[in-house]
Point group: C2
Chain length 140, copies 2
């Protein structure tokens, strides 16, 4: 667990903080191939993530469908100005990992969630990542 | 093909246009299980998408790795204020579909890429979608 406070996390050069780390949890997700049960695994994960995020500065939003249906339960993590990460194959026990991932991202000056120290479910469950809107890489 | 001009597309209620439709193409993608060849399929897709986007108001950005490696070639599409879409299983012939998807998204007042009229590669190749930063849904 880092000691970064996402609400005040700033780049070392004094640039504006990325701030506002947010976890979007898909509440409609169920495990592929498993029978439909209520509450859905996604809804349970969302509730656990809200609880895990209490007093951390991390915002949790419930969303109906992140379209990762074949590899759910799913969640996405991002801060202002950061890359956006989509994770799958999650479970209710992954809630603290999502919150920790959001905190790591909030503390990353380059907007990239560090691999080192990243919770295991966010390594093996990585589905995709998308750069921030203003991202431009020097590629021929 | 719609006749929407993304640069002027506005919500019916007069809200600010989403604007700035952007396609992010992963240039490091290759087809899973296929031998490594240069240029990579992702780089070819990027070049074709730049060409397809000419004079459409759609911006194309080359990116090194969208982390959808097992289901590449990959691209992401988004506008300001819209949902973000990640697509996989693409091919060089999908370039016009990506541009058309970006234009559809730019013209969608609700920030959601419509299913109706969406090019086929962006239906079968949908990997995930993530809501805009300020998204909040009324869910218990």
């Amino acid at each position: 667990m880092t000691t970064i406070d996402p609400s005040t996390a700033a780049a070392p050069d004094g640039a504006a903080p990325h701030g506002a780390p947010t976890v979007y949890v898909c509440v409609t997700c169920r495990r592929a191939g498993e029978p439909e049960v209520e509450p859905r695994p996604g809804a349970l994960l969302a509730a656990a993530t809200v609880q895990a995020a209490h007093n951390t500065g991390v915002t949790v939003r419930r969303v109906r469908c992140l379209a990762n249906c074949t590899r759910g339960p799913s969640a996405a993590v991002r801060c202002n100005g950061s890359w956006t990460y989509v994770f799958g194959g999650l479970d209710v026990v992954c809630a603290p990992a999502l919150v920790e991932g959001a905190r790591l991202l909030a503390g990353a000056a380059d907007g990239v969630m560090p691999w080192r120290g990243r919770p295991e479910p966010l390594k093996r469950g990585l589905i995709a990542r998308v750069p921030p809107a203003d991202f431009q890489e020097d590629i021929e």
